[in-house]
Structure formats: structure tokens, C-alpha cells
Symmetry: C2
Subunit: 359 residues, 2 copies
């Protein structure tokens, strides 16, 4: 019988198993602030705009940088599935990584502090979250039972205490909360100052708004579903890239018996994006999600879908069938989902063949 504490260990640094993926870095303070935490890891920087502009990465970091020309060269016609002039392009980094774990972060996210003043090592907490099981089948009122000093409470069925492998660790934000444009406009001065010392599993069957600002995941378990969709240049919406990935990942995790955690670690989100610009990007998404959410709440994946890729292709079919009536955009998005998987499998032949059961 598993006791929760048997999983509580100091997380290994995972230096050779984790890549940090960052969309365009507009602010070099960002890298300086994270230097003590990021230097041991490999960075993948995906530049979202004009490829002639160069990002100067200060010495000491181990990195590779991709601009649009690199993406086009590497993917050929399939590059169409990668967003342009939008931070959604970061998912290209997930695809080219060869590591088991990914941590992705925005360049306006700085190191946050605990109430005690101690600087938060966000990466370390994400790794802890990913290395401990999730508990999607029953709610534990003392939150993550695998944290030090916690366990399953009275009444938690013993047969469910093994939990499920954790595929995604969703971290939160102090200071500027991740609000939509209408809420930003209504509450321009609201700041998140509440440090909630908890990690918890999003229960099976429940959707959540996944934010890409401070996010880690297990590429082997869920990578091919972490597609950030078509946003930015030439697309009718923005700021729904991470949401799209979150909805897809959640239904696939639920289907495959994987878990998603949210809560710690916090980062310090330094500045709010312009609410007027955001409103222009978001307004179609705000309408559309009223249909998209019921769609995802009712998605059923057939039991033949035993890999992330198979689930994702099936999902793309259902998107085409059921969401295209909202807007032709979803027809295009469904095609891009298929292109994404083709490109993923091309760049990840071993993983792909393993995932498809051909190995």
C-alpha cells in the first residue's frame, strides 16, 4: 500500500533532462534575474517576429535561438502550423527539444519571493510537481498529499492513493494577475498579493484555464498535445494559444490517465499587457469559448486512442466536425493540428514510433 511520503524526495536537478523554452526575449534583465536558476539548463529561444532583429543573449547561458527563417527551413511547408508574430510560436521549441521535461516562461516574469522573503526557485518546484503523482480521481482536502508534512486525509480511498503520473505543472503569478481584457479594464489596479502555499490536482473531468506564462510539462507524456494553435499574424484571435493547449491537454490527460497540477511555484509577473490591444486580440475568443468549452466538456475519445498523437488527431477531427460551424478559423486550426503532429513525429522519430507503438 503506497504511503504518500514515499514519493517525497529532493528533486534531482534534471540538468540533462529539461529544456527551458522562451519566446522572444525583449528584456535582458529577465535573463540576468534568472541567471542563478537558468544557467545550469539549456535554453531554447523562439523569436516571434522579424528575423532580421537579433536577440543578444549575455554570456554564460547555454542556448539555441530559432527565428522564423529557421522554422521555415526546418519544417518546410509544415511551418504553417507555427504562429508568426505571437508568443504562441514557443511551441516550436517544444517540438525541437530532445529532453523529457520542458519549462516555459514569458520574458516579463521575474523571480518571486515567498512571504518570508526567500527567492522562489520556480524550476525546482515544477520538477517536484512533475516527479510526484497527481490525484485526479478524488479530491484531497489537504491538497497535494505528496508534499512534505501532508498526506491523504481520512476517507481517501486507499486504492486511489497511487494517483496518476503528472504530465503538467501549472504555476501561478504574483503581482499582475492573468486577467482577460474586460477584467483588466474594470480592475486596472488589482494586484495578486496572496501567496497560496498549495499545489493541487485539477480533478478528472474538470477543465481549467491553462496559462503559458509559467508552465512545465513532461514531453514524453503529453508533448504532442502542447500545441499553441494559430495566433498572431493573419489570424482572427490572440491570447488563446495557451488556453487551447490547456483544453486539449486536459481532455487527453483525462483520457490517458494522466494528471495536471496547479498552484506553486509563483513567478513575479512584472507588467500588464495593454488591455485595449488585448481586447482586440481576445474579443472573438470571448464569444467563441462559450461554444468551445461545452465542446471540450463533452469530448469523448474512443478507447483506440492509446497515444497522445492518436488522441490529438481524433480531437482535430472532432474540432473540424463540431467547431467549424462557429467560424472557418476552426477548419484551418483543425488542419494545423494535423500538420503539427506530422511535424512533431518527423522531428521526434524515436518518440513518435515509441508513442505509436511501432518500436
Amino acid at each position: 500500500m503506497a504511503t504518500a511520503t514515499s514519493y517525497v524526495t529532493s528533486p534531482p536537478p534534471l540538468k540533462n533532462e529539461l529544456d527551458i523554452v522562451i519566446p522572444t526575449i525583449r528584456n535582458l534583465d529577465f535573463l540576468e534575474m534568472w541567471r542563478p536558476f537558468f544557467e545550469p539548463y539549456h535554453l531554447i529561444i523562439v523569436q516571434d517576429g522579424d528575423p532580421t532583429k537579433t536577440i543578444k543573449v549575455p554570456p554564460g547561458f547555454d542556448y539555441e535561438l530559432y527565428n522564423r527563417n529557421d522554422i521555415n527551413k526546418l519544417l518546410g511547408p509544415r511551418a504553417s502550423c507555427i504562429s508568426f508574430k505571437d508568443s504562441a510560436c514557443r511551441c516550436f521549441g517544444y517540438m525541437v527539444s530532445k529532453k523529457k521535461y520542458i519549462f516555459t516562461i514569458d520574458d516579463d516574469c521575474f523571480v518571486a519571493s515567498e512571504p518570508s522573503g526567500k527567492k522562489i526557485n520556480a524550476l525546482e518546484q515544477h520538477i517536484k510537481n512533475l516527479l510526484c503523482p497527481s490525484t485526479p480521481y478524488f479530491f484531497n482536502t489537504l491538497y497535494d498529499p505528496f508534499r512534505e508534512g501532508a498526506d491523504y486525509v481520512r476517507g481517501y480511498p486507499f486504492s486511489l492513493r497511487e494517483g496518476a503520473p503528472t504530465a503538467v505543472s501549472h504555476g501561478l503569478w504574483l503581482n499582475i494577475p492573468d486577467y482577460d481584457a474586460p477584467t483588466q479594464l474594470v480592475k486596472p489596479l488589482e494586484r495578486n498579493t496572496r501567496y497560496v502555499d498549495a499545489v493541487l490536482t485539477i480533478p478528472k473531468g474538470t477543465l481549467f484555464p491553462m496559462c503559458g506564462m509559467n508552465l512545465a510539462f513532461d514531453r514524453d507524456l503529453i508533448g504532442p498535445a502542447m500545441y499553441f494553435g494559430l495566433m498572431g499574424d493573419g489570424q482572427p484571435i490572440g491570447r488563446y494559444d495557451d488556453m487551447w493547449a490547456g483544453w486539449c491537454c486536459k481532455v487527453i490527460c483525462d483520457h490517458l490517465g494522466l494528471g495536471i497540477k496547479t498552484g506553486l511555484p509563483y513567478i513575479y509577473h512584472s507588467k500588464a499587457s495593454n488591455p485595449f490591444v488585448n481586447l482586440r486580440k481576445e474579443y472573438k475568443g470571448i464569444f467563441w469559448q462559450e461554444d468551445i468549452i461545452p465542446f471540450f466538456q463533452n469530448v469523448v475519445l474512443p478507447k483506440e486512442c492509446t497515444t497522445v498523437q492518436k488522441c490529438y488527431i481524433e480531437l482535430s477531427k472532432q474540432v473540424k466536425e463540431k467547431l467549424s460551424k462557429i467560424d472557418p478559423y476552426f477548419d484551418k486550426l483543425a488542419d494545423a493540428m494535423v500538420t503539427w503532429i506530422e511535424a512533431w513525429d518527423d522531428l521526434n522519430p524515436v518518440g513518435a514510433s515509441k508513442a505509436n507503438g511501432k518500436a
Copy 2:
């Protein structure tokens, strides 16, 4: 369009709308410690054991006390549904109350402190929780959007922001965690020292282990489902009274569109009960819940069940049909569930007729 903050108000004291229900008080320090918080309210004390023993309530408290003789006198043959020599008898207090809200607490639960050292007014937080909507249909990553300084995050569908009326507020415990006997035996020294500054809604479709130590609810919304079952003297199990009530309440809340919150407020749980005694009480429950949980996870209530009473009677039928094969105890429990509703409706004729749509 509702903004979450429109609900953030200082909670009214609800002096004439809330009763505090306490099973046997073995320790008068308990009342002295809570005096500043409890004195404004009416207490209902339900004595669980020998009726010849008297509980001396110190002056200044407004209270009524029921012992077994009172229960027998008031309910007649229906008194059989109220447990004897077990704190599960507290649910008799829910039945005789005439107030809209109930707060129930154990006599080994003292006033806890925030990390700042400030004493926690548990009642005030429960009232806040009950007066703000729950969010069972979609997970909000910044927890309760109705708390000060919080809101719905980007990607939360606007049509779901009204939430659902909150029926239950489940508070937590610092110091001695609410562990089952096996976990108590394995980790005798574990103490809960983590103050998690959060309130959150248990999502629709997810079960949780509801602890009766520090619990508040809206009698009008869910009262008749707050039955603590048959425990203690003459029964084969104990320590599953609150769990049973929690499972029943959760499936009925899900069916009726009501919400259950968990998290703040904390109380200080002063002493662990004897793990050997607990093991004797619990061990059948530990086996049985492996079947009970799937039962509750799969319960479907027909749409004709439009009141708590109708839901509860329907649930009793399904318990008889599906759980009696585990043990004859469930046959008896299913009958007691019906008796409980009959007694409830007898003592609450207006509420009953209102709830049954006869008014």
C-alpha cells in the same frame, strides 16, 4: 455581466440566522476559548452518551442541550435513525434547528491563528464562504474569485461567472491532521503546519472526504442531506459519519446545481484520537469505501428529483439496491435514511412543504 467583486462584502453577523451545533462537550476550556466568537450565537449541544451525566455550560452562553432521552421523546420510534454513543448524533441538532445556517465543530477544536498571529474567526470565514457563490463548473486557478483581491482569470467563460449558490463550507485543521487510523499509526508525529490561504470549490463530478470537525452549511439548501448515518453503539463502523454525509451531499449538490467550498477557515485540532480505537471503528469502512466510492461516482439522480428530500429518498433506494450486497448494514442504513427524512419533514413542516413544492 457579473463581476466577481460585486459579491465581496463584509459578511453580516447572521446572529439570528445561524446555530452552532456541538456534540458532547467533554472539555469546558473549549467553550471558554471560543467565548468571544460563540457568545453572540445560539448553541445546540447534542450529548452522545449517558443521559444521566450532565454537561455544565458556563454562564453567558445561549444554548439548548439534548440528551438521548430528549431525542427519544421528540422523535419517538424514529429516534432509531440518530446514532448513540457517537458524535454522529450531532445531526439531530441540524434537524431541530430553526435557523438557515449551521456551524458544527468538535470539542477538541480550538481557535487557530494566522501566520501573522491573528486569531482566526472561523465563523466569519464560513459565513463569507456561504454568502459568495461557488464555481463548480470550471476551475479558477486563482482559487475563489469572490475573495478580495481575486477574480476570474483569463479564459474563464463569462457565462459561468455567476457560479452556483454555496451550500457547504468545509474548513480545515492546523496541528493534528484528520488522518485515518493506518496513516496515524504510520505517522504519529505528523502535524499540519501549512497555512494555505485559499478557499476553493470542489468541482462538479468530483467527490471529496468531508470532515465534520469544522463545517458549515445552508440548512435551507442542503440540510436534509446532512445526515450522519448510523455509527457508534450497535453499529459495525464508526468515523464514517461525516464521510457518508459528504458523499450524499456532494452528489445531491451536483444534481441540484449547488456548490461546496473547502479551505479556510482553519481551526486548531488539539489532540489526536487513539489510532487503535480508530482502527477498530474504521476497518470495515476502509474496505467498504472501495465499493462505496464507485457507487457514488456513478450515481445518477433522475430529473424528477427537484428537492433535497426527493434526491435523498432516491439515493436511499439506490443504496438499498446496490450497497446491501456488501453488508446487511447498508440495508439498515437505507431504511434509516428514509426515517431521517420523515423525521426532518415532521420537525420542519414549513421548510418541508416549501421544499416539496406544496406551499
